[in-house]
Amino acid sequence: MNLIELRDIQKTYHMGDIAVPVLKGISLGVAQGEMVALMGASGSGKSTLMNILGCLDRPTSGEYWLEGQEMSRLSPDQRALMRNCKLGFVFQSFNLLARTSALDNVAMPLMYTAESLSERQMRARAEEMLRRVGLADRLAYHPSQLSGGQQQRVAIARALVSRPTVLLADEPTGNLDSRTSAEILRLFQELHERDGITIILVTHDANVAAHAKRAIHIHDGVIVDGAYSAPSAEMPTGGIQ
């Protein structure tokens, strides 16, 4: 079974009396250790799909299986727990806490983890993640003292610190220049190849999507292309440990 399995996901927003269908029956599968790009023009419904994948939103109908667990019927608190343990988010606008050191930014999700780590363990894990994204010498820097690329690296370290199953990146290079974009994408590829992390990249940029093994194209709430990986594709196994 795939790591992520969507079955006939529909999402309809209600604006007054008018029902606006955004997702019209999405079915897709992502295997363990895949790096997938989710592509589509703005308004195609890719952000909505991303929110559902990220357990931030619930589908109007359909099933969402993550690691063999049905997510669409969970309570808000359970979904928060899922976001904390199984999902990592990278945003277009970094969303780092201002006037807070890189280390504290990275350690922040651990504060909400159910398993209680000691302060030292939390710091150690955050440090390890920052080292992995190449910022070992920037632990005490505040976001304002870091470049855009470095900020996004901090954000990636933060997304990985609670050892999630899936990394969801929403336009991770949207605010970066082309050179830094390339660096960040290289980092994603490295994480994918070396650590076998499952990554879903949301983008409208074909160059970015080119870094992924597979691209899922979405148009007007329907998947046009690439819903399932080719059966012949070789799957790396194991998540980040």
Binding site: L56, D57, A80, R83, F91, T100, T113
Partner: protein, 456 residues
């Protein structure tokens, strides 16, 4: 999430905007400061009042002679001559709840020393026990007259500080001879400073002497004090013109009618006193002391069952209660005003927290995205509000305390530190934090993470 982690997180969040945190707490600082200062000043003035009351003597009972009325016109207290020195002795002997009792005789007349003269406010004839009752037994200088002086009617006296200042101008008064109503008195001692009493009367403007000598050598009948239509007795006036030969005026024996003379061939030296002053052993024993004194006096005065008392016992506690209720009222009033300022401070906190929630919408969205539950967000913002209030409360306590200290040193108002007020202030600060921090925190926790992340 562990408590200390929440607290640390809240502190970090507040530390990101220290100026705003400072201004937010200002309302609470001022409110709590005002409450503390009010409480301390209020407690101070009520304890000063207690002290003033205590300066009258602790647990004092006043026994006045009864009131007579002539054709429905009251002649006022003391218009009946019923209390005697023997009554006083009987009370001292027979009442176990009474610590000390002393008769008093009042006079008001001029005293002269050399070229100086003055008319003291209080001229009291009494026994040494009076000083014990008034809590005045420690003299500033010299010694008190003795019971023997009282019996023999020795012409000795104690002077209050004000009198000493007026007559002697810094000289030592002890051993000097003064004239009271033209009767020479030797000053044997000087009373300690006592200050003003509850009515603002200077208690140091006083002369104390054995009651016998005041009674027979200085004052006349006290009846003439109130009965103005009667010919004025020489002794109760400082105007000497009407009495060129003082000292001979008061009759030692009341004039008897012919019937009385026939009925009572023996001479009765009826020596009434103006008032008896007694002190109960403790505040709890005041009621039993009143009962015992009533019983003894009724027996002494041979009153039958059913006859009204011919004396009045007054308990100074009533006076105390009235006076302290006034200060309590004032303190409570000011406290209410201070409480209003606290509420205003709380609204300030709520306002700033709401602004803060709006400003930090993206942060809230992010925290939710990485796994914070609604209740984590609620707790975080609530903790921030409570910390603001508690820190504000702590600073307010210091400020209020400092303020009351300033009032004490600069205005010389009595002030008293009140641990109850401090405990209450801490409690109130925490309550305000929770009460006014809850709504913004609740609002933050209800944000939709998707909307919050998209918020610009």
């Amino acid at each position: 999430m562990k408590v200390y982690r929440t607290v640390r997180m809240a502190l970090k969040a507040l530390g990101r905007n220290p100026m705003r945190a400072l201004l937010t707490t200002l309302g609470i600082v001022i409110g709590i400061g005002a409450v503390i200062a009010m409480m301390e000043i209020g407690e101070g003035s009520s304890s000063a009042l207690q002290k003033t009351i205590a300066s009258m003597g602790a647990n004092v009972l006043l026994v006045f002679p009864g009131v007579t009325s002539t054709a429905g016109v009251s002649q006022g207290s003391g218009s009946r001559i019923t209390l005697t020195a023997q009554d006083c002795e009987a009370i001292a002997k027979e009442c176990p709840s009474v610590r000390a009792v002393a008769p008093t005789v009042r006079a008001r007349t001029q005293i002269v020393y050399g070229g100086e003269n003055c008319v003291p406010n209080q001229m009291t004839g009494t026994t040494p026990a009076w000083l014990v009752i008034r809590d005045w037994a420690n003299l500033a200088e010299g010694e008190c007259f003795t019971d023997r002086d009282v019996l023999s009617g020795a012409r000795v006296c104690l002077l209050g500080q004000t009198v000493v200042r007026e007559l002697f101008h810094g000289e030592s008064a002890v051993g000097k001879e003064i004239r009271i109503n033209n009767v020479p008195f030797r000053v044997v001692g000087v009373l300690a400073t006592k200050g003003a009493n509850m009515m603002g009367m200077d208690q140091d403007d006083a002369v104390v002497a054995p009651w016998t000598v005041i009674k027979y050598r200085v004052a006349g009948s006290t009846l003439s004090n109130t009965n103005q239509s009667a010919s004025s007795a020489s002794s109760d006036s400082s105007n000497m013109v009407s009495n060129p030969y003082p000292g001979e005026a008061p009759a030692l024996y009341p004039e008897q009618s012919s019937t009385q003379t026939q009925n009572n061939p023996m001479l009765v030296r009826f020596a009434n006193v103006d008032m008896l002053m007694a002190a109960a052993r403790s505040a709890e024993q005041i009621p039993s002391a009143i009962q015992e004194i009533t019983a003894v006096l009724r027996q002494q005065h041979r009153l039958r069952e059913g006859q009204e008392d011919d004396f009045d016992i007054r308990d100074t506690r009533e006076l105390t209660d009235t006076l302290s209720s006034t200060t309590t009222l004032m303190t409570n009033l000011l406290l209410a005003v201070a409480m209003i300022s606290l509420v205003v401070g709380g609204v300030g906190i709520m306002n700033i927290m709401l602004v803060s929630v709006t400003e930090r919408t993206r942060e809230i969205g992010l925290r939710m995205a990485v796994g914070a539950r609604a209740r984590d967000i609620l707790r975080q913002f609530l903790t921030e509000a409570v910390i603001l209030c508690l820190v504000g409360g702590a600073v307010g306590i210091l400020l209020g305390h400092g303020g009351s200290y300033l009032v004490e040193t600069l205005l010389r108002w009595p002030v008293k530190t009140s641990p109850t007020a401090i405990a209450a202030a801490v409690l109130v600060a925490a309550t305000i934090g929770i009460a006014f921090g809850y709504y913004p925190a609740w609002k933050a926790s209800r944000l939709d993470p998707i909307e919050a992340l998209r918020y610009e």
